[in-house]
Amino acid sequence: MISVFGGTAAYHLDLSKFAIVGETVELDTPFGKSVPFTYLKPPGEKKESVWFASRHGRGSLSRSACFVNQHANVWAARELGCAAILSWNGVGAIHPDLQVNDLVVPDDLLDFTHSRKTEFRMRNSGRMMDMPRELVRLPFSEEYRQVLIESAQISIRQSAIYVCTEGPRLETPAEIRAYRQLGADVVGMTLSPEVWLAAELGLGYASLCYVTNTAAGLGGTERNFGPQVGEKCLEIMLQTALL
């Protein structure tokens, strides 16, 4: 079982257009209440199904990225029996080759958040985990990254460095230049600590980044935060999760 975490425009989606919609549950976790998770089953003979969660709310963008309870959501995904999380996120393009509406599957991350707890053990869970033995590792699951890239069947940039900022304010041009100097390709506010929390619970994690705009100071006025972002991303997520 896979859990799909929806980001930009997930709150606009009519899920019944994509799958048979089952029950919706909100879990009480040691870290607070999760967002609603909805059981989605594809039409036809396929037996696989997914638990879908919209991070920022339903119907409208009701919670900005820095106030999403990622601890509760990741915990809930595991409690629901999921082995992995596939997520989508809107990002600003930093790399000059990227354009609005491009898709990117990041393979590395720079964490410039400054108020977020990156572990469950720091949140008084009462359930101590072993310290990770690895001192250095790539944050995303290569297995799920490859499945995502292969199943999408569209042109996707297959590696990128995602820089995660605190938000909710957007970035200054100086910050974007600094991130570029450090190697970042895209910027968003979502993936940390979500990816670390998933790893701590032993869940696979891969992300599909949808370029919604060009990052500050790099020119370009085109922006796309519309419903089609969520529709395209959910279609790809379901193709991947149901393989």
């Binding site: 919670r63 605190e166 957007l170």
Partner: protein, 234 residues
């Protein structure tokens, strides 16, 4: 009292106590020429002084403080006017819109153009424009941090700019920063800047309106035009 501008200093100052939903602040109210200004000291929650400035009717905030020169070109005592910023503050409230889907405020540029232009016009050759300021945390900065920030493009480092500049933007107050170089390569200034005499002509040059006014469309659409509704916790 309806003021034109508030001055945010990086120090705790004596003055009149004022309470806000985000804690207390200290204010010195003064008449500068034809304009009223309020000097607001450092607060434990930066939202307290931004709300105070808004409540007093400030259209502009000028954040003043001691600056650290990160490169070679600036000298002790130089006045500096940054155009862009890197934010290295930590564990501090970054928005009035906690737990809501608001606060995605553009930061390009981070500082209000009209407020910055008034500073530039009034101070003329006294002030040196710098491209980027590193807004650091309240604690002392380390030499390694200063080198790293310089590598990333910052020419000066200051305290007390962030999150104030973007909190002001959330409440549609124009914000600009003015620093005086007080530290350079282990050399520290002994004199305290006389902000009053420096800023009096600046306040006289401030326009009553600026481009940040009405810029928080998302908050206006979701919560209405009364900013008091914006700061109620979500």
């Amino acid at each position: 009292m309806n003021i034109l501008a508030a001055i945010f200093t990086d120090a705790i100052i004596p003055g009149e106590e004022s309470s806000t939903p985000f804690g207390d602040v200290t204010i010195q109210s003064e008449q500068w020429g034809v304009s009223k200004v309020a000097i607001i000291g450092a607060a434990s929650d930066p939202r307290a002084r931004v709300v105070t400035a808004k409540e007093l009717g400030a259209a502009h905030v000028i954040g003043v403080g001691r600056a650290i020169a990160l490169g070679e070109k600036l000298a002790i005592g130089d006045l500096v006017l940054p155009a862009d910023a890197l934010d290295f503050t930590r564990d501090i409230s970054t928005t009035f819109f906690e737990n809501r889907g608001l606060g995605y405020v553009q930061q390009s540029p981070p500082f209000c153009i009209e407020t910055t232009t008034a500073l530039q016009t009034a101070l003329g050759a006294q002030v040196q424009p710098v491209e980027v300021v590193a807004a650091g945390p309240k604690r002392p900065f380390t030499p390694a941090e200063l080198r790293a920030w310089n590598t990333l493009g910052a020419e000066i480092a200051m305290r007390g700019l962030a999150p104030e500049w973007y909190l002001c933007h959330e409440l549609e107050i124009g914000y600009a920063a003015l620093g005086m170089v007080a530290w350079r390569k282990d050399e520290q200034a002994s004199e305290v800047p006389d902000w009053h005499s420096l800023l009096a002509p600046v306040v006289a040059a401030l326009p009553a309106e600026h481009s940040w006014q009405g810029s928080n469309f998302a908050a206006r659409n979701a919560l209405g035009d009364d900013w008091h509704e914006w700061i109620i916790p979500g």
